[in-house]
């Protein structure tokens, strides 16, 4: 394990090395600036979950699991199911993760994924009502990075989306005032798929799918969530640096260009 990996900091020399490579249009692992690492999506990884997916983006591995439960709707949306996204940066995934409740990074990740799915109306929450105003399905999406080698947002987005596409929910009905849940399961209704593309800025260079060390070298990042109509359904700038407006628009174009390749890796969206 490299020094940077264990300490979560990058030496100035290493940053210079990364920058020198970018000036030549090269990255340490031989990728082009706008190239993703190999992506692998394995659905149905966890049998007990209603849906799950293990996603590998290069050496980064993220597992997402979906559990469903009958709960109460939010008072302002009585005829909608509930979607909850949570992320746990478990200490198995990186020496920079510590045991304990989610920190700000884990909370940010979960909220960015949640906003993209919610804005795109990816999960058809209106079809998850059992008794309007009192009983609806709650969809819990839990994101577990297993090995952190950079770009957790994009990998987690793929894992969450693939897990939702893998999800099957039982049918529930009210009979004489009691809730009956049948063994028969049907696929979770999904309106559109969503992918997340993060662009990291190192000095004046913009790269896709940053590795762990590239993330440490980066001044800032911006993530675009993109739906199947190729519209933007979520944006998050991160990191302590700043962007020129033109850089954010260039990043948008890079993200839109990369999105179809990510959609290809996901299972197709099936309406119930």
């Amino acid at each position: 394990m490299s020094e940077a990996k264990s300490a979560g900091v990058l030496s100035l020399l290493k940053r210079e090395l990364i920058l020198a490579g970018l000036k030549r249009g090269e990255r340490e692992d031989g990728r082009k600036l706008d190239e993703f690492r190999n992506i692998e999506v394995i659905t149905g990884y966890v049998g007990k979950a209603e849906g799950s997916a293990l996603v590998k983006v290069g050496d980064t591995k993220v597992l997402a699991g979906v559990k469903v439960d009958v709960g109460s709707p939010f008072p302002d949306t009585p005829e909608m199911g509930v979607q909850i996204v949570n992320a746990e940066f478990i200490p198995v995934a990186s020496p920079v993760f510590e045991p304990g409740p989610p920190g700000e990074d884990a909370i940010e990740l979960a909220r960015v994924i949640d906003r993209g799915l919610r804005s795109a109306e990816a999960v058809d929450l209106s079809s998850l009502v059992i008794v309007p105003g009192s009983k609806v399905w709650t969809i819990f999406i839990d994101i577990y990075p297993l090995d952190h080698y950079g770009n957790l947002i994009d990998a987690s987005g793929l894992a969450a989306m693939a897990a939702l596409l893998d999800t099957k929910i039982p049918s529930a009905t009210m009979e004489n005032g009691t809730l009956k849940i049948s063994e028969e399961k049907k696929p979770l209704p999904v309106n559109t798929r969503v992918v997340y593309v993060t662009v990291a800025k190192i000095d004046d260079y913009m790269i896709l799918d940053p590795s762990f060390e590239e993330e440490l070298a980066a001044d800032a990042r911006v993530t675009y969530a993109i739906n199947e109509d190729m519209n933007i359904c979520g944006i998050q700038k991160g990191g302590s640096g700043a962007f020129k407006v033109k850089e954010l628009l260039d990043a948008r174009d890079m993200a839109l260009e990369a999105a179809p390749k990510l959609f290809e890796k996901l299972p197709p969206a099936g309406k119930a």
Binding site: E104, E108, Q236
Partner: protein
């Protein structure tokens, strides 16, 4: 739910009578607190945001100190009575995320390397909320940092672009935020022309992102003018006070 309420009328006016490119009344006062090293009160429409800056002081706990720069500790917090239904004073996930993105919106503007091994506190209290609290908080925090005499490259000025009834508008209020189609808060260093906060929820076409940046330029400048005015006013008052006592 979204889309069920008409937010722009046939005269092109919004629910509070504003035109699409019109922001709400903005009032900024610098140096409102006696204990804090710097402070500001910002009213943006019905929002009331109070910010106190303490520091640079010794980093607490010591292990968070950085050998080459100051660390900013930022806390965005909403008072229980600031919203319609009482909000628990415990930090919510939203508040934790906002504390982080607001900190990251301010960091590029502060000469952190001038204050190695120290900590600068930015405490944000939302006293009343009505849509756009994060942008008003950034606007207030930048004034409070400057009021504390902390070396800065530029101020940070923020305002949101939103989408209601399919149109882009400036500075969403609470109702527009709740029933509109999208919200895109933007913070910039207006002199240097850098974007330091950029978020969005809702669906925007790729062209609308460009349009949003064009639309936000004037309101950002307006916020910036008000921030400078507030900072100058405080010193003008000091001068008046001194002259009176002479």
């Amino acid at each position: 739910m979204k889309g069920n309420i008409k937010l722009i009328d046939e005269n092109g006016k919004r629910v509070d009578g504003r035109y699409p490119n019109e922001m709400r009344r903005l009032r900024i006062e610098a140096g409102v607190l006696k204990n804090a090293d710097g402070s500001a009160l910002v009213e943006l429409g019905n929002n009331k945001i109070l910010v106190a800056v303490y520091g640079p002081h010794e980093a607490i706990p010591k292990y968070v100190a950085e050998p080459d720069r100051a660390v900013i500790r930022c806390r965005y917090s909403m008072a229980p009575f600031s919203v319609d239904e009482r909000k628990s004073p415990n930090p919510s996930r939203r508040e934790i995320e906002l504390s982080m993105v607001i900190r990251q919106a301010l960091e590029p503007a502060v000469f952190l390397n001038e204050y190695p091994r120290t900590m600068i506190d930015v405490f944000i209290e939302v006293l009343e909320a009505d849509g756009g609290t994060r942008t008003a908080s950034i606007t207030a925090a930048a004034v409070a940092l400057a009021d504390a005499g902390i070396a800065m490259r530029d101020l940070v000025s923020a305002i949101a672009i939103g989408k209601v009834d399919g149109r882009l508008v400036v500075d969403l209020n609470g109702i527009e935020d709740q029933y509109g189609e999208g919200d895109m808060p933007i913070a910039m260093m207006p002199q240097l022309n850098y974007v330091t906060l950029f978020q969005a929820d809702g669906v925007f076409t790729p062209q609308e992102i460009e349009e949003a940046f064009r639309m936000v330029s004037d309101p950002i400048k307006k916020v910036y003018r008000e921030q400078k005015k507030a900072l100058k006013k405080k010193y003008e008052e000091v001068v008046e006070e001194v002259e009176k006592n002479e």
